[in-house]
C-alpha cells in the first residue's frame, strides 16, 4: 500500500518543550485512521504542522509523494489536504452557500478567467453554486443555506465545518474532533456523514469520543506526550496494556 500522507521523523518544540517527538505517521489510500491520546498529547499541534499553520522544527511531511514540508498552507489545500476545526471556525456573516461557493471558486481558480474571478457577478458561477448547494444538501444543510452562519444551530454549524472541508475536494481530510460539543446521541448524525464519505478520501480523525473512534476507525494511532505510543487495529489498541494504562491507569490506582 502506498501512503497518501506521511510524516518522517516530525519534531516540533517550543523552547524546551517538545510537543512533537519523531512522529512517523502514515496514512494509506482510503484510510479511516484515528489519532487518539490524552489531553495535551499534541494532536492539534500535529494537525497544525500537517496543514502548514505551524512550521515543524525538523523532519518532513509528504503528500502523494511530494515533500510539502515548506509549502504555505493555501498551497497544501490546493493539493488536496483539507481540515476541520475542533472549535467552530466558520464565516459568521456569510451564508453557508456563500462560504462553500467561495471555497469551490478558490479550488477552481486556475480554470476561471480573470474576468470570472474579478468582474462578473458571483451568480454567473452557476456550476460552482450548484455544486455547493448539492454538497450542503447531502449534509442536511439545504434548508439553512441562505441564512447567516452565526444564526445556525450548533449542530448545523458542526456539519458546515465538514462541508467546508469537503468543498476543497480533498484527497486527505483531517477531522479535528468533529463531534466536539455535540450532545451525546446526536453524534450519530455526524457518524452517518463520516461513514458516507467516499473511499477516495483518506481520513485522519482526531476524537475524544471513543465510541465514535471505535465505530469509525480501521486503524488507530495513540499519541502520548508528543510521541507515538502504538499503532494498530481497533482490536489491538483495545487490548494493548500500555494504552489502557495511559487512559485508565490513573483511575485504577
Amino acid at each position: 500500500m502506498t501512503a497518501v500522507l506521511r510524516t518522517e521523523d516530525l519534531c516540533k518544540s517550543f523552547g524546551g518543550l517538545k510537543v512533537t517527538q519523531k512522529v512517523n505517521l502514515s496514512l494509506e489510500a482510503g484510510a479511516r485512521h484515528a489519532l487518539i491520546g490524552p489531553n495535551g498529547a499534541g494532536k492539534t499541534t500535529l494537525i497544525n504542522q500537517l496543514t502548514g499553520v505551524l512550521r515543524q522544527s525538523s523532519g518532513s511531511i509528504w503528500l502523494n509523494g511530494e515533500d510539502i514540508s515548506h509549502l504555505p498552507p493555501y498551497l497544501r489545500v490546493s493539493r488536496g489536504l483539507a481540515r476541520t476545526f475542533q472549535i467552530n471556525s466558520l464565516f459568521p456573516k456569510l451564508t453557508p452557500l456563500e462560504a462553500v461557493t467561495a471555497t469551490i471558486c478558490e479550488r477552481d481558480r486556475d480554470s476561471l478567467s480573470v474576468f470570472d474571478r474579478r468582474l462578473f457577478p458571483l451568480t454567473r458561477r452557476r456550476a460552482e453554486i450548484d455544486e455547493a448547494y448539492d454538497l450542503l444538501a447531502r449534509l442536511n444543510l439545504a434548508d439553512v443555506c441562505s441564512r447567516a452562519t452565526h444564526e445556525l444551530a450548533y449542530g448545523k454549524q458542526r456539519l458546515l465545518e465538514v462541508a467546508l472541508a469537503m468543498a476543497v475536494r480533498p484527497r486527505v481530510l483531517l477531522l479535528d474532533e468533529p463531534a466536539a460539543g455535540v450532545p451525546e446521541g446526536e453524534s450519530d448524525e455526524m457518524l452517518a456523514v463520516l461513514a458516507e464519505m467516499p473511499r477516495d478520501i483518506s481520513i485522519l480523525l482526531i476524537e475524544h469520543d471513543m465510541s465514535l473512534v471505535f465505530r469509525f476507525a480501521e486503524r488507530i494511532t495513540v499519541l502520548v506526550s508528543g510521541a507515538e505510543l502504538v499503532s494498530g487495529t481497533p482490536a489491538e489498541i483495545a487490548a494493548d496494556e500500555r494504552v489502557q494504562e495511559v487512559y485508565l491507569g490513573k483511575h485504577r490506582g
Partner: protein, 330 residues
C-alpha cells in the same frame, strides 16, 4: 422564462442587482448639476471625498485592514497630478493615470510593511508612513512648495475637448463620470468571487487559509487597489481646484476619512459617499454658525453615530427598511 430560479440563487442575486435606491442615488448626483448650479464646486468636493472614502471602504470595510494613514495615497495622487502639469502633461485623464500609477506603486510596496502586523501595529505603521510623507512634502519645498502648497497649476482640456470653466460645470461632470466609473468597477469586484473571498478573509482569516485562499496575495491586491483609487481622488481634487495643499498628506485627512466612513457605514460601497455628504455638509453648516464649535458638534455626532447607529447611516436605513417588509413588496 422557462425555468424558475431557485430561492437560494435569488438570495445570492440580491447583492448583485442594482436597487432602485442605488439608481436614485446616482441620478441625484446628476440632478445636482441642473438644480444646484451655484454649488457645483462644493458638490464636486463631496464626490471626491466620497470616492476617497470608498477606497478606504475597500480595504477597511471589505478586507478588514485598519489604517490611519490613507491620506498618504491621496496626497501622492494630488501632488503627482500637480507636478505632471508642471512638466507639460496637462491633459487631466493622463494626470489621473499618472496619479494612479504612483499611488498604486507606493501602496503595493508599503503593503508588505502594513500587512505583516496586527491591527495596532497596522495603525502605527500607516500613521508613520503618513507622517513621513507629510514631512517630505514639507521639506522638499523646491518640488512641492512646502507649507504654501503647490500653486499655479494649469490644467488642460479633458481629453483635449472640454475646458474647465469658472463655474465648475465641466469639473463637476468630469468628477462625476470618473467617480461613477470607479464605483462601478469597485462594485463589480465586490460582487464577484473576488469580493466574496475578501469578505471571507475579514470574517475569519484562519478559516480563509484553511479553505485555500491565498490571503497575503489577496490583501496586497486590495490594498494596492485602495491606494490607486485614493490617488485618483487626490488627483481629481488637484485638477478641479488647481492647487495642492500640504494637508493632502495630513493626519487630519486620514482621521476625518475614517469618521466619514464610520458615519456612513462600512462594507456597503455607499457608506463613504453618504458619510462624506453628511460630514462635509454638517461641517459647512455648523462652522458657518460658529467656526470654533464645529469640533464640539462633530464630537457629539461621532459618539451618537458609533453608539446608536451601528452600521452607520446605510446600516440604519437598512434596518428601517427591514422593519416594514410589507411596504417593500408593493
Amino acid at each position: 422564462m422557462t425555468m424558475v430560479t431557485p430561492p437560494h440563487i435569488t438570495h445570492l442575486a440580491r447583492r448583485e442587482r442594482w436597487s432602485r435606491a442605488e439608481i436614485a442615488f446616482w441620478l441625484a448626483w446628476l440632478a445636482v448639476y441642473f438644480l444646484l448650479p451655484k454649488h457645483l464646486m462644493f458638490a464636486a468636493q463631496i464626490l471626491i471625498t466620497g470616492l476617497f472614502a470608498l477606497s478606504l471602504d475597500l480595504i477597511l470595510g471589505y478586507a478588514g485592514i485598519v489604517t490611519l494613514g490613507h491620506a498618504a495615497f491621496f496626497g501622492l495622487g494630488a501632488y503627482t497630478a500637480g507636478l505632471l502639469t508642471k512638466v507639460g502633461v496637462i491633459e487631466p485623464v493622463l494626470g489621473l493615470f499618472g496619479a494612479a500609477l504612483v499611488a498604486g506603486t507606493f501602496g503595493f510596496l508599503t503593503s508588505f510593511l502594513v500587512l505583516r502586523g496586527r491591527d495596532l501595529s497596522r495603525l502605527m505603521i500607516t500613521l508613520g508612513i503618513g507622517l513621513l510623507l507629510f514631512e517630505l512634502a514639507n521639506r522638499l519645498t523646491d518640488i512641492t512648495g512646502g507649507v504654501d502648497g503647490l500653486q499655479g497649476i494649469a490644467v488642460g482640456k479633458v481629453l483635449g475637448l472640454f475646458e474647465f470653466d469658472l463655474f465648475g460645470k465641466t469639473a463637476y461632470l468630469y468628477v462625476l463620470v470618473v467617480s461613477f466609473g470607479l464605483f462601478v468597477v469597485a462594485r463589480a469586484l465586490m460582487t464577484a468571487p473576488y469580493g466574496l473571498s475578501l469578505r471571507a478573509i475579514r470574517d475569519n482569516q484562519q478559516r480563509a487559509v484553511a479553505i485555500g485562499i491565498p490571503i497575503r496575495v489577496r490583501l496586497t491586491n486590495i490594498y494596492t487597489l485602495g491606494a490607486v483609487i485614493a490617488g485618483v481622488a487626490g488627483a481629481l481634487l488637484t485638477q478641479t481646484t488647481q492647487f495642492v495643499a500640504i494637508d493632502s498628506f495630513g493626519f487630519q485627512r486620514s482621521a476625518d476619512l475614517l469618521i466619514m466612513l464610520l458615519i456612513g457605514g462600512t462594507a456597503t460601497l455607499y457608506g463613504g459617499f453618504v458619510g462624506a455628504c453628511a460630514f462635509l455638509i454638517a461641517q459647512n453648516w455648523l462652522s458657518s454658525i460658529n467656526a470654533e464649535y464645529w469640533l464640539f458638534w462633530l464630537g457629539i455626532l461621532l459618539i451618537v453615530a458609533t453608539r446608536y447607529l451601528r452600521g452607520g447611516v446605510i446600516g440604519g436605513m437598512a434596518k428601517l427598511a427591514a422593519l416594514r417588509p410589507m411596504g417593500k413588496k408593493a
